[in-house]
């Protein structure tokens, strides 16, 4: 006789498989556009504009922005995958298939998070491979690089899940990425070092959680960072734990899903 844990593992695999199959099924929407966008960033900001700029922290501008562009892709795709997938499940009401099943909330949340991370991290690897066409890369701290990418992907998958839970129409899953996420990414040190900013902008930038993620990842790849690596990990772990708890609370109470 199967145990509840074994049942939950089968359920988790089922959600993850379904999510991955969705990403593959609509590859022209999920994989290709982000890769094209990243390539354009490399050409415009790295090659055309970057060739006229000074080195940053001892690195050519093209090389300096690679970690930021990889993280931008990880963040956008982790977030975008779960908002469209989970909101789609709500919109078509097939989220009810999961809600009426014996699956506990943590299985549903984990399944969607792993699915979103699969897309976010796949795009991260794709963008990193594209960057090799424009610059040479040597990863200084592989473990920090990998864990930062995974934690960041997880945090934004969780944030996207919360967005999808509260969304009532398609506009609601576009507002946060357009008006919150994109500005935070652009102001999060993707294209510059905050050491180049004067006050109060330097201090204000420290309130942006994406700054810590981008810099931790940059430290992993290039060995340079505007932020202490321990502080960056603390910020990422804090958001991962807080958003996991909130996501589980929302699922358990059925907010936005149950009447």
């Amino acid at each position: 006789m199967s145990t509840p844990f074994a049942n939950n593992m089968i359920a988790l695999q089922t959600i993850v498989r379904r999510e991955v199959m969705r990403i593959v099924r609509i590859w022209s929407q999920t994989l290709i556009p982000p890769a094209i966008t990243a390539t354009l960033y490399f050409i415009i900001f790295g090659t055309v504009i970057g060739s006229h700029l000074h080195k940053v922290h001892g690195f050519a501008y093209m090389t300096y922005i690679v970690p930021g562009l990889v993280m931008m892709s990880v963040i956008n795709n982790s977030y975008g995958n779960i908002t469209s997938s989970f909101f789609g499940a709500k919109f078509q009401r097939f989220v009810e298939e999961m809600l009426v099943s014996p699956m506990p909330s943590w299985v549903i949340l984990s399944g969607y998070i792993i699915g979103a991370m699969a897309r976010g991290l796949t795009l991260g690897v794709i963008v990193m491979l594209i960057s090799l066409l424009f610059t040479n890369l040597h990863i200084e701290h592989p473990l920090i690089t990998i864990t930062t990418a995974m934690l960041t992907s997880m945090v934004f998958a969780l944030a996207g899940f919360v967005n999808a839970v509260f969304a009532r129409k398609f506009d609601d899953i576009a507002i946060i990425p357009n008006f919150v996420l994109t500005p935070l990414i652009y102001l999060g040190g993707v294209f510059y070092s905050i050491d180049q900013l004067g006050e109060p902008w330097h201090t204000i930038s420290l309130a942006n959680p994406i700054l810590y993620m981008v810099n931790a990842f940059r430290y992993g790849m290039l060995g340079v960072s505007d932020i202490q690596i321990g502080v960056a990990y603390a910020v990422m772990v804090f958001f991962a734990v807080a958003l996991s708890g909130f996501g589980l609370f929302l699922l358990h109470r059925g907010i936005g899903m149950r009447s």
Partner: protein
């Protein structure tokens, strides 16, 4: 455990955020193996009740046990026992029927090999196997409803709840659906049905509850309920009717058209006097049937009676 009811609801209440009291203390018992009809007008509380049982709606009070398992305290165990066919289409329209069924089985912890076997079995039984690998959005309305039944069978539930499964489905498909459902009921699955086709409930169900304004207004055996009907109406196909209809004591005659007559009379009333009078007036009866349907008449009476009570209470 054979005496444990399939479903035992006690004082179940639901008040929505806007103050609407959808359920005002519903108590109900459905025995194992029953084919049970839950009827009520739109907005009576049927879907809320089903929503609570399937954990899509949070109850405001009361309790419900499925085969003795409390749906709140032991939700996971209780959900293993239920299969739900909802009123609205609620599967991923971009997936194939086969994948929909296999995935749902996975949600219940059923290993993939077994899930694949069950998906083929139930899609074949519901005559959907030839569409198993087509996009589900391309299925007809009747096929989509049958797919939801196949999906609900993936965990082979002990209690199957069907919420208006035949709405908008043509007669042939409806019959094939009932053939399937009566088959699984005969095999031991308890079935709860809500429907607006009252003749369906009359033919299929052994016991019945009528819910109105969030309260159970009748809960009894189907035969016992139908026996309460003290008036019967017959429809007679006749030769051309005269302008003025004859009068028969104790029978109210009503012309439906030039060749159709309706005769309403007390239950058990002698029909010979009717035929004698029609014969005397040169009217030949070519066929006769009971007006469909008896349950509908009772349903309307019970609901109207309850509506009057509500108005007086208000």
């Amino acid at each position: 455990m054979t005496d444990t009811p399939a479903l035992e609801i006690t004082d179940l209440r639901k008040t929505y955020g806007n103050g609407t009291q959808a359920l005002k203390g519903v108590s109900l018992t459905v025995q194992q193996g029953d084919f049970f009809a839950l009827l009520g007008p739109n907005g009576a509380g049927k879907s809320t009740l089903i929503g609570i049982l399937s954990s899509l709606v949070n109850a405001s009070g009361g309790s419900a046990r499925i085969f003795g398992v409390d749906i709140h305290a032991q939700r996971s165990q209780a959900m293993h026992l239920i299969g739900l066919v909802p009123q609205e289409i609620n599967f991923n329209q971009f997936e194939k029927p086969f994948d929909i069924c296999v995935n749902v089985a996975g949600f219940y912890g059923i290993p993939r090999a077994e899930a694949v076997r069950r998906a083929e079995k139930y899609l074949r039984e519901l005559r959907l196997w030839d569409k198993a690998f087509h996009a589900s959005r391309m299925l007809s309305g009747g096929m989509k409803r049958r797919l939801m039944i196949a999906r609900a069978m993936m965990n082979e539930p002990k209690l199957l709840i069907l919420d208006e499964p035949t709405a908008g489905v043509d007669i042939e498909i409806r019959r094939s659906m009932w053939q399937f459902v009566t088959g699984i009921n005969a095999a031991g699955t308890t079935v709860i049905l809500t429907t607006h086709y009252l003749e369906e409930a009359e033919q299929l169900c052994r016991n019945i509850a009528i819910i109105d304004h969030g309260r159970i207004v009748e809960n009894t055996g189907m035969k016992r309920l139908l026996a309460k009907l003290d008036v019967e109406t017959f429809v007679l196909d006749t030769s051309p009717l005269p302008h003025k209809l004859p009068k028969v004591e104790g029978i109210a005659l009503c012309r439906r058209d030039d060749n159709t007559l309706e005769a309403e009379m007390a239950r058990g009333h002698d029909l010979n006097s009717l035929f004698a009078m029609l014969g005397e007036n040169g009217i030949t009866v070519t066929s006769m049937r009971n007006k469909a349907n008896r349950l509908e008449e009772l349903f309307v009476r019970l609901v109207e009676k309850n509506d009057d009570g509500q108005e007086k209470a208000a």
